[in-house]
Amino acid sequence: MKWKDRFNFIRQNMKKNKSRVFMTILATAIGCAFLIVLASVGFGAQRFIVNDLMQDRAITEVTVYGKQSADEGESPEITKEDLETFQSMENVKAVSHKIQLRTEADILYDAYAGGSTVSVVDFQSEKEAGLNLSSGRMPQEENEVLIGYHLDQLLYKKSEEEAEDQIFNQNGLVKEEYRMDEELLNKTIEIEVEQYKDDEWVTETFAVEVVGIMEEPARDWQVSNDVYISEAVLGDIEAFTGTAYGAAIHPDMKTDEVATLQSEGQDRVYSDVQVIAGNMEQVEQLSQNLKDEGYHIYSVTEELDQINVVFAVVKVGLIVVGTIALLIASIGIYNTMSMAVTERTQDIGIMKAIGGHPKMIRSIFLMESGYIGLMGAFVGVVIAYLVSVGINMLLPFVIQQVFDQTIEEAIQLSYIPPYLALICVALSIGVAMLSGLKPAKKATRIDVLSALRRDV
């Protein structure tokens, strides 16, 4: 019997008892939708957490904190030599690093001033590592700098007599009425550094030109007050302070402490060292190589692996619970198919009597139950997507009503990846066919003579 004919045969048979078939399909659809929606919560939660984790870090980043000291005297800090080692490693796309200025530096512009974090970066490496600007360009000259997205919102007039809590808003930025009107892009700003010299505090300013503004930090609560300077500017600052990294000397420091500050810095040490892999797949190997070399590292993939394991367990649990609903629906399919076989006993008997092959009869009933499963799964997937959209739309409203909290960013509690829908469709068809297996076998075992006599 051709597949097309089998399909037509099934459709004809199903039409004979539309309401029963409809109810069975509905039960399967509800079971399938329940399974998908339940699992989608696991997928949604995982996606939310993973996205949250990856929001402020590139997934290809491996942060190097330091190295294990092999010898007693060896410094655990990252030096130029280490950076070169990283550069020469396999799978490394870029190495991003910073040298932090070890003193408090104020930024001055016109009559405005404010604190900032000044660091030396290698602009070329930063560019390769994926540093993005919201406006302007990367520095090319020695006195050109990049500034953080919020720096202009952190400057205020020094003459303001108000207390700090009046000037700054709850986000730590200067209130709008105290802010300056101008943007700092393409303006010359001054970095003001203070040092205790010859028993008195001396102040020096270093003029630099702002050529680029970095993009807004990923987190709402993060405030970027960075100023990225070149090594040459650091050299000028060091020349003024007389200490490495512009370290400030305090009046109560002992002589040997001051001497240490003045003498170190022959070999630069770097902070915020990030080794960037070419792609996500290379991160694991790169992390392992760095560990083997004795570096203390952290990569987001390590955390992701743990999270994924946890969620894999959660999702399996949810799918198992959801499958119970599908199994309950399968009882309905079994019932429907058993009824169908009983009702069609005479037809089956006739078919067998005139040459119907038992395999063909079995396949017709298996296909019929599979078809119910397919239809149920199809409707179930549609229902599940609608419910999923509904849940995601209602969630902020429910949280606001019940917990009295407003969610600023959209939370997707339920997420249905296409493969989840496909798995559920396959599961649904599989369960439906399993349910139809026994009735189908029963159909093949129908005794021709009994069926023809109609005494079955």
Partner: protein, 232 residues
């Protein structure tokens, strides 16, 4: 065409402790030649339907052998019987055995559908057959919308559609009036002459027995007589 050797069939009745063997057929030997019409007659319970059921493969003999179209079918499995039936045998039943939810056209088409014949070929053959049995106007009618004679013609058409060399008929005129019975018997004779189809007809109707080349009489499960019909 059909050869039956020392064929016996019995079954058991009663519960475990009190089982009794009931013998339906005993040591039957007979042969049906190609192109013959053979009628099997006998009283109720003589075993004639059992003989036909054994030849059809619906039941298995307790002893003996059956050969059809030179093939020993005695030990055939159900699936082998299914294939054999669809290639070699046509069936006509007393109560027509049409599928009520299918039209006359679909009932006749069914054996071809099960054999996997293409739709185009099916359409051609079913239409020819409908004309042959004089039912082309009734092709969209369901069995419940046809008279007994028309239903039996659909049943005959269904048996003939796969062009089998042998047709086994169990009381084919049992549900028909005299006029319709005569029509059917004429048709059987015509098919036998024109297409050389072998018929084995179970009957207790003398009219039917008269169209046969040979009549086999069964009595209490034994072959009582096997003789040519002289005046056919």
């Amino acid at each position: 065409m059909i050869k039956v050797e020392r064929l016996s069939h019995s079954f058991f009745v009663g519960k475990k402790n009190n089982r009794q063997e009931v013998s339906v057929l005993r040591d039957i030997n007979l042969e049906v030649r190609e192109g013959e019409i053979v009628s099997v007659v006998g009283r109720s319970g003589s075993g004639k339907s059992t003989l036909l059921n054994l030849m059809s493969g619906y039941i298995k003999p307790t002893e003996g052998d059956i050969f059809i179209a030179d093939e020993r079918v005695t030990e055939y499995k159900e699936s082998e019987w299914a294939e054999f039936r669809s290639d070699h045998l046509g069936f006509i039943f007393q109560s027509f055995q049409l599928i009520p939810s299918m039209t006359a056209y679909q009932n006749i088409e069914l054996p071809l559908v099960m054999k996997g014949v293409s739709e185009k070929e099916r359409e051609k053959r079913v239409h020819e057959m409908l004309i042959k049995v004089g039912l082309d106007e009734y092709q969209e009618h369901y069995p419940s919308e046809l008279s007994g004679g028309q239903q039996q013609r659909v049943s005959v058409a269904r048996a003939l559609i796969v062009q089998p060399p042998i047709i086994l008929a169990d009381e084919p005129t049992g549900s028909l009036d005299q006029e319709t019975e005569k029509e059917l018997l004429d048709f059987i004779q015509k098919l036998n002459k024109e297409e050389n189809i072998t018929f084995v007809i179970i009957t207790h109707d003398e009219e039917v027995a008269q169209i046969a080349d040979r009549t086999i009489r069964l009595e209490d499960g034994r072959l009582a007589a096997d003789r040519e019909v002289a005046f056919r």
